[in-house]
């Protein structure tokens, strides 16, 4: 499945570069498809949801829509979890849902061609390789190109009832 997807992606994207939004979690830099990003806003204290896992910070009111907030730093044990006026929430539009993801900072918008994205080596850990489309290096930085849709809709995130695996 993985190989197939990447194969297909490589075929289409050889010439056309896609735009990616990069953000940092601790010392790591991630890239996600910018088309999934609705907006970026500052962090505000959400309303707690009872008995939710710790990385689900709660829900906020985004212009009348109730949006759950996920702290990816807690989910992946990255960086110091503190909320400052500079803490950023990326509002994602995924599978018809609106979800907010807390990250340390948003750094860049980049164009990546599929040639620049290399397959990630297999490793195990909380951040499963199945959510990683590949690794890209720009200058000295390594970007982890993430399939954010797959990640957010996975059962791991506990965001969606009967999540598709």
């Amino acid at each position: 499945m993985e190989v197939m997807m990447q194969g297909a992606a490589a075929g289409e994207d050889d010439l056309v570069a896609s735009e990616f939004l990069t953000f940092t979690l601790g010392s790591e830099e991630y890239a996600i498809d910018i088309l999934k990003v609705q907006e970026i806003r500052g962090y505000e204290t959400p309303t707690l949801i009872a008995n939710a896992p710790p990385f689900i910070k709660g829900v906020i009111n985004l212009r009348g829509i109730i949006v759950p907030i996920v702290d990816l730093r807690i989910k992946f044990n990255l960086g110091k979890v503190e909320y400052t006026p500079f803490t950023v929430v990326i509002i994602l539009n995924i599978a018809g849902r609106v979800i907010g993801a807390v990250v340390d900072s948003v750094s860049d918008v980049l164009s990546l061609t599929s040639a620049q994205v290399r397959q990630a080596p297999d490793f195990s850990g909380s951040f499963d390789t199945k959510y990683i489309l590949g690794l890209a290096s720009i200058d000295q930085r390594m970007l982890i190109v993430t399939d954010i849709e797959r990640l957010m809709t996975s059962a791991d995130m506990e965001l969606i009832e009967a999540a598709a695996e």
Partner: protein, 777 residues
């Protein structure tokens, strides 16, 4: 020009459903012995509309069945056949069959072909029954329609319709359907039509004499015609009166000759005689070609001269002649002997003198014609005044959401200004106060868009009761009160099934058989009362019967058999609520109506899912009353805000019974786990919200916080919270849209400060309390 017809299907389905519903309710109202002509016409129109649009959309099965139905209706309407009860039954069955066809076309279920054939045969049989030799129906229908409609034609207008149909429409049945449709609106005359087999653009010229406005049929013509290649011109001067038609329509099929005769007789006040003479006149006219129109006219005048109406008539005559004389084409026409020749060259007749005459004639006519005219006129007024648009629910919901936003923003502003206290300028405060009023008005009116009268639900029950009482051999009368009570559309849709079930239940278990009723000293006819009204912020719907009432002992006995925890000490309310338990039935035998014990639990669950509740009152031998309480709308909730730690939750106010501060010693534990609180001698299970939601309470002692006593489906629990904050109307937002269902939470809302507050799901919380108790016990 190819159009994707499927986009119109939904509209067709909805409209046909409405027509069917209208037809059914009219049929049920119909007095079989003395049917009201206007009602019969309304039924006919409903059937006709279904037929017309079904044909247009190519649902031939629907069109065919409706056609047969229409034939029979038409004959009854024309008094050729007397209305009988079995016909009403057949109509109702036909309505069911049509509905099942509609469902099948929408992909819901299949049509029972046997039933279709059976009902078609039945209708044919009824319509061929004992009546006069039947004439070719469509032509006859058109003519008779004219005859029936003439008395109401004070508002008739003549439209000149010209169009070039699309290739598709020209080759298919589109045109025929359009013509049928127009004939149903009034008198249609085809001035020019393309010769069969002719290639190139086909040109149609129609004349329609109708009491409808052009909007009624303009859409259909637009639909059939090539892009923009259509035109409707209204001939204002032809003030729809027989007199005008006189000179103009010597031999057109759309305007039968009675029309002319009729126009004259109006003033006479001797309707019966006139009608008879009209027949005579008819005989005169028919065989004569148009050339003879003028002499015939004289002849007919001869008839009327002795009548008191003659001054008017002769006046009309003069005008009528005035028409002909200046027309250059008239002699040509006479030579040709071809009536149609008249119309093409005639410009919209500019005869203003005609109008006053028409009104003179019309006035006494109305008086003379009396009751039926008045009724028809009234319906016509109602129809034209009741204009509406079809808007998708999504758009309305979007509007409601936006208004919800506005309300929140306005509350935020108000709060900010309150914090500014004296520093806020007077004008700002005034402006904000105004904004608050306007917002509230806006919210109310937007909310009312979704409101529909409950008669939409109630109207289906006469049929249910009729069918079911016949099946069970019971005599039941259904009374409905408060049909105009309005509630949210989504509630209307969801309340139908539970209410149907409650009514079936009342009929089957409540109302006794006539013999038993007589033996009990009651009237043999039972009564089921359906009543809706507002109470507080709720809609209350009562289903009452004067039947046997609920047998407390029998319910208790059944409950014991099923191993439910019951005791003699239970209150009546609690005992009666047992019938809502799944699988519970006191019926001795299972009928196909009810008695399987499924249903009442579904009723309760459905009603609860709407945020409502059911109560039962019953007296053995006297009757039973089920009371359903529903919130006005699903979108807004009366809530009480409570604080737990640093969080705010909303409790639906309808569940809150009371709140109290517990005294030391009021709270006891069971096996050191579950707690109970003593409220006036009664021990209620305690749900400690901060423990359940793993929050930090501001208090470490129960006596500092507040116990809110909640009534969740008859079971009472005490909810421990830190403090009560206030009472609000909150707009319910879904948590599941972007997140998932959270146990104990039914939704979310946005508070005045823009923060989200979660709404507690009282039933679930009470359920959790019960499981706690069971664990402890």
């Amino acid at each position: 020009m190819s159009i994707d017809m499927s986009q119109f299907y939904q509209v067709f389905f909805e409209e046909s459903e409405e027509h069917l519903a209208a037809m059914e309710s009219l049929l049920l109202e119909l007095d079989v012995g003395d049917p009201d002509l206007e009602q019969l016409n309304a039924i006919f129109r409903a059937a006709h509309s279904i037929k017309g649009s079904a044909g247009t959309f190519g649902f031939t099965d629907l069109a065919e069945t409706t056609h047969i139905l229409e034939n029979l209706l038409d004959r009854i309407r024309k008094m050729e056949l007397p209305l009988r009860a079995d016909m009403v039954d057949a109509f109702l069955q036909a309505g069911d069959v049509l509905r099942s066809m509609l469902d099948a076309h929408q992909g819901r279920g299949a049509v029972d072909q046997m039933a279709v054939i059976a009902i078609c045969d039945r209708l044919r049989q009824l319509s061929s029954g004992n009546a006069a030799p039947s004439l070719p129906v469509p032509a006859q229908a058109a003519e008779d329609e004219v005859a029936v409609r003439i008395p109401e034609d004070t508002g008739r207008r003549l439209f000149d319709i010209q169009f070039v149909p699309t290739d598709i429409a020209a080759n298919g049945v589109g045109i025929e359907n359009l013509l049928d449709e127009l004939r149903s609106l009034g008198d249609l005359e085809i001035v020019s039509r393309p010769a069969p087999g002719e290639t190139g653009p086909a040109y149609w010229d129609l004349r329609l004499l109708t009491d409808q406005s052009r909007e009624v049929f303009a859409d259909q013509i637009d639909f059939i015609a090539e892009n923009g290649a259509w035109r409707i011109v209204e001939d204002k001067a032809v003030a729809a009166d027989g007199t005008t038609a006189f000179g103009f329509f010597p031999d057109c099929p759309g305007v039968p000759d009675e029309l002319r005769g009729y126009g004259f007789f109006r003033g006479s006040g001797q309707r019966n005689e006139a009608a008879k003479e009209e027949d005579d006149a008819y005989g005169f006219f028919e065989p004569l070609p148009a050339v003879a129109a003028a002499p015939v006219e004289d002849d007919s005048f001869g008839f009327f001269e002795p009548l008191p109406a003659s001054p008017v008539a002769s006046e009309t005559k003069d005008d009528g002649y005035g028409f002909f004389e200046p027309l250059p084409s008239a002699p040509a026409v006479i030579e040709e002997g071809e009536g149609f020749g008249f119309f093409v060259p005639i410009p919209p007749p500019p005869v203003p003198a005609e109008v006053p005459v028409a009104s003179v004639v019309a006035e006494p006519a109305q008086v003379a014609l009396g009751k039926p005219t008045e009724r028809q006129a009234k319906t016509a007024v109602a129809a034209s005044g009741d204009s509406s648009i079809r808007v998708s629910i999504e758009k309305v919901d979007q509007l409601i959401n936006l208004v919800g936003e506005l309300v929140i923003t306005q509350a935020m502003l108000l709060q900010t200004s309150a914090q500014m206290q004296e520093t806020a300028p007077e004008r700002l405060l005034n402006g904000l106060a105004q904004l608050e009023r306007n917002t509230r008005d806006l919210q109310e009116s937007v909310m009312s868009i979704r409101m529909m009268p409950i008669s939409f639900v109630f109207s289906r029950f006469p049929r249910v009761v009729r069918d079911l009482s016949a099946k069970l051999g019971k005599q039941v009368e259904l009374k409905t009160l408060g049909e105009t009570t309005e509630l949210d559309k989504s509630l209307i849709e969801r309340i139908t099934d539970p209410l149907t079930h409650l009514i079936r239940n009342s009929l089957d278990h409540g109302i006794e058989s006539p013999e038993k009723r007589v033996a009990a000293g009651k009237s043999p006819t039972g009564t089921i009362t359906l009543k809706a009204y507002h109470q507080g912020g709720n809609i209350v719907i009562e289903v009452g019967d004067d039947g046997a009432g609920l047998p407390r002992e029998k319910i208790l006995q059944k409950a014991r058999e099923r191993g439910l925890p019951v005791s003699e000490q239970m209150t009546d309310q609690e005992v009666f609520h047992l019938i809502f338990e799944a699988g519970f039935s006191t019926a001795d035998q299972v009928t196909d109506v009810s008695g399987r014990g499924v249903g009442m639990d579904v009723v309760r669950r459905n009603i609860q899912s709407m945020g409502g509740r059911v109560e039962i009152d019953s007296m053995f031998g006297i009757g039973t009353r089920m009371t359903v309480r529903l919130p006005l709308t699903l979108a807004i909730l009366d809530g009480m805000s409570v604080a737990v730690g640093d969080q705010i939750y909303i409790l639906p106010l309808s569940y809150v019974l009371e709140s109290l501060q517990p005294m030391p010693g009021d709270i006891k534990t069971l096996s050191n786990q579950a707690r109970v609180v003593q409220v006036r001698g009664e021990y209620l299970p305690v749900v400690v919200l901060h423990e359940m939601f793993r929050l930090k309470s501001a208090w470490n002692d129960f006596t500092q916080g507040i116990m809110v006593v909640l009534d969740a489906d008859g079971a009472r629990v005490a909810l421990f919270v830190d403090a009560l904050l206030g009472q609000h109307q909150v707009v319910i937002k879904s948590l599941e849209a972007n997140y998932r269902k959270v146990p104990g939470i039914s939704g979310a809302t946005i508070m005045g400060d823009g923060h989200v507050a979660l709404i507690l799901d009282v039933s679930a919380i009470a359920g959790m309390a019960r499981t706690n108790m069971q664990k402890a016990g």
